[in-house]
């Protein structure tokens, strides 16, 4: 749910009010082509035209075309993501939305094993080849290449004067992943239309067909060419999300919002391509060296709760947006996200929006950098740094150019900086002094044309 305070588009009025407004708007909009006026004004006129102008008779179209580029430094993941989002507004209050996004990813992603001062050899997911990581390098699986297509559509309309309903479907497909979901929400406005309560429910079913099959949890990696410890070809996961929200208009220039959400997932949540290093824990010169690798294992259910608070306020200097999210789950992860941006006008057609996002996360209970060869194996274990203690700061700047007829183009530039504990107290022997949680930096460039 997005807050929008600057220019409300749809009047929150009854049937007669809407009818009159529509008729009155049509009265002046369609008559702009009176001949005598055209002659005088045409030199300064920039008319909206193009493909959708012909469809304007039966719906009010708006939308966005975007292109996102994501590039991690040191040649890790690169992504290009073109997308299109279309909205058709019928009779001013019924809305159909369709969104299509394509993702092309290339590069290499961490395989979960720890950096070492030794060369390390891993078996590729297919079990047919191997690859070697040089001492001091992050173990990356560099054959990483994937594309994703995501399609979603939704319909929303008023059910009664104050009640609005929304229903949506979404699907996304990757080489080894298929996700399908449906969602519905209801929002109810108070009699004075200053408060909106919303209730949302969504169900998602994901199926995963990992390359080379699903590894047996916690099984030891086997050299390429040999029979692999794989137990099946496909797994699935289902998720139910519930959201309760309140949006309150404090005054004409200030809106606040609070959401509570609950997410319940069950099924396969392992990353089938991630290893955990087993290090040598016998005292001696090879203490801390990688001895073997095992496939990770995560619990088969997860319950997440989150609170989201946001405020959007308008002043003569600009529009200030602040938000905070607190999330905790039964895996032991808690996170805080603080986000702010300030949107202000440089002149009549240019706006700037500097922003900052700060994210901190505490590790799940079963996160370990690596595990000692003499230790008893816990039933759940991951070394995926995305589930470890970490912090990320993302400064950004959005440059917005307003065009005629409410069209605009914007360019968002962001730099993502993730840091974690490089020298954890648990490091032993040769692990000490290695950068066990390498920084991750990424450039994000997002170009959007909205019409």
């Amino acid at each position: 749910m997005q807050l929008k305070v600057d220019q409300p588009k749809v009047l929150k009025v009854g049937k007669i009010g809407r009818l009159i407004t529509h008729a009155a708007m049509a009265l002046t909009c369609t008559l702009t082509s009176l001949p005598h006026v055209k002659a005088e004004a045409s030199s300064q006129t920039e008319k909206k035209s193009g493909y959708f102008s012909g469809l304007r008779n039966w719906a009010d179209w708006s939308g966005e075309i975007g292109l996102l580029g994501y590039s991690e430094t040191e040649g890790r993941v690169q992504a290009i993501e073109p997308g299109i989002n279309l909205n058709a507004l019928f009779d001013g209050d019924r809305n159909w939305n369709i969104k299509l996004v394509y993702d092309a990813l290339t590069g290499s992603s961490p395989n979960g094993a720890l950096i070492s001062d030794q060369p390390q050899t891993f078996t590729s997911p297919s079990g047919k080849a191997n690859y070697t990581t040089q001492p001091g390098d992050i173990p990356l699986y560099d054959q990483f290449r994937d594309s994703r297509v995501a399609l979603s559509t939704s319909w929303s309309q008023p059910l009664t004067r104050l009640l609005k309903g929304n229903i949506g479907l979404n699907a996304s497909k990757e080489y080894d992943y298929l996700s399908m979901g449906l969602n519905t929400s209801l929002s109810k406005e108070s009699e004075d239309k200053n408060t909106t309560y919303s209730l949302g429910l969504s169900y998602t079913n994901d199926s995963i067909n990992p390359v080379g099959g699903t590894p047996i949890p916690l099984a030891t990696m086997v050299a390429a060419g040999l029979p692999q410890p794989k137990e099946g070809t496909s797994e699935s996961k289902s998720t139910i999300d519930l959201l309760l929200g309140v949006t309150q208009v404090i005054n004409r220039s200030w809106i606040v919002q609070a959401n509570l959400s609950l997410g319940l997932s069950s099924g396969y949540m392992n990353d089938p391509y991630k290893f955990v290093t087993i290090h040598n824990d016998t005292l001696g010169p090879s203490l801390g060296d990688p001895a073997s690798y095992i496939y990770e294992n995560r619990p088969d259910s997860r319950t997440k709760q989150s609170i989201y608070l946001a405020s959007k306020s308008y002043s003569k200097y600009g529009i200030l947006t602040l938000s905070y999210r607190f999330l905790s789950d039964d895996w032991g992860l808690t996170s805080h996200t603080l986000e702010s941006n300030f949107n202000f006008a440089l002149n009549r057609s240019w706006r700037l929006q500097p922003g900052l996002r700060v994210y901190t996360q505490s590790a799940v209970d079963f996160f370990r950098y690596s595990i000692g060869s003499g230790e008893a194996l816990p039933s759940e274990l991951t070394a995926d740094t995305r589930l470890g203690d970490m912090m990320a700061i993302t400064p950004g700047l959005k440059i917005i150019k307003k065009l005629e007829n409410e069209r605009e183009i914007s360019l968002l530039l962001q730099y993502y900086m993730q840091t974690g504990e490089k020298n954890p107290a648990t490091a032993v022997g040769s692990q000490i002094g290695q950068d066990l949680f390498p920084d991750l930096n990424a450039f994000i460039v997002h170009f959007i044309y909205s019409f």
């Binding site: 220019q7 009047l11 929150k12 009025v13 009854g14 049937k15 007669i16 009010g17 009818l19 009159i20 407004t21 008729a23 009155a24 708007m25 009265l27 002046t28 909009c29 369609t30 008559l31 702009t32 009176l34 005598h36 006026v37 005088e40 004004a41 300064q44 006129t45 004067r161 004409r252 003569k316 006008a345 002149n347 009549r348 057609s349 005629e404």
Partner: protein, 291 residues
């Protein structure tokens, strides 16, 4: 252009052009320091206001309204713009359950709202009421046929329409922010160039409204009423009874997507009196009522 009513004020970053038209004082505020630009925008809008006045005024002899009103039962063909306006009036008639009726103007022949207690003669009202009633009019896509002696009066929507037409011309002209105020009915091209709203004072009230876009219109005139049996008779007439509304609010101001919408809503609200408050609550986003 020679117009004795024309007045011009230069406030450096604003130019205010004023003139008399459409039965009242018209003002055009143009936010620019460029006098040439201001003059060319004004000229465009002035001509448009004058064109609309000439075309739709019921005082003109040879315009389309005169043609319709003197057709004496014959069909009158309508140009696109007139057809649009009359069809809009037809929609207002439908949604107001017959309270908004452009044939009701003839009632003004028997009513004069001069703050006195001279109410109309009952039999005069009965007589003239025979020539009122939109349901007796045949409206086609581009033609209208009215019974003899019927007259239409587009005064109830023409001024607001002129405001919106002017704003839409100003928008076509370019990005210069313009506020059009024709006798208190207002619309703007958008926010001012610093992205701030226009501050509009609501007449006879301490209220002020921040207008970012769209229009504002007021229905009612505090100076036009009659006193009858200690009751105030508003100058707004119920077309069904031929009588003024009793104890209606002095005026109702509505903010809308454009001036025509605001004007139609404020007029309809007034006609709904004494249920105007509920009507506004349901149908309008922002409104002001003065009793």
């Amino acid at each position: 252009m020679f117009d004795p009513s024309y007045k011009f004020n230069d406030f450096k970053s604003y130019k205010v052009h004023a003139f008399k038209c459409l039965g009242g004082l018209c003002e055009i505020l143009i936010e620019t320091s460029d006098i040439t630009k201001s003059n060319s925008i004004f000229k465009l809008l002035y001509d448009e206001a004058k064109r609309i006045e000439k075309k739709f005024s019921r005082y003109e002899k040879n315009n389309i309204v005169a043609k319709i009103n003197t057709a004496a039962g014959r069909k009158t063909h309508l140009d696109k713009e007139t057809a649009k306006l009359i069809h809009f009036a037809d929609q207002l008639y439908a949604v107001s359950d017959g309270l908004f009726d452009i044939t009701s103007g003839v009632l003004r022949r028997v009513w004069t709202f001069d703050q006195s207690s001279n109410v109309a003669n009952l039999s005069d009202v009965e007589k003239i009421l025979k020539f009122v009633g939109w349901q007796k009019v045949t409206l086609e896509k581009k033609a209208i046929t009215m019974p003899a002696h019927f007259e239409i009066d587009l005064g109830g929507i023409g001024k607001e329409y002129a405001v919106d037409r002017c704003v839409s011309l100003a928008v076509q002209f370019g990005t210069t922010p313009v506020l059009v105020n024709f006798g208190g009915d207002i619309a703007v091209t958008g926010p001012k160039s610093n992205h701030q709203p226009w501050l509009v004072s609501i007449e006879d009230s301490t209220e002020r409204y921040h207008l970012f876009s769209g229009g504002i219109a007021t229905s009612g005139d505090k100076n036009k009423y009659l006193i009858h049996n200690d009751k105030k008779l508003s100058h707004i007439l119920n077309p069904k009874t031929g009588w003024p509304l009793i104890d209606a609010p002095a005026s109702i101001t509505v903010v809308g997507e454009n001036c025509t919408a605001a004007g139609a809503l404020s007029t309809l609200a007034m006609l709904k009196s004494p249920y105007h408050a509920q009507f506004l609550k349901d149908e309008a986003e922002v409104y002001f009522i003065r009793s």
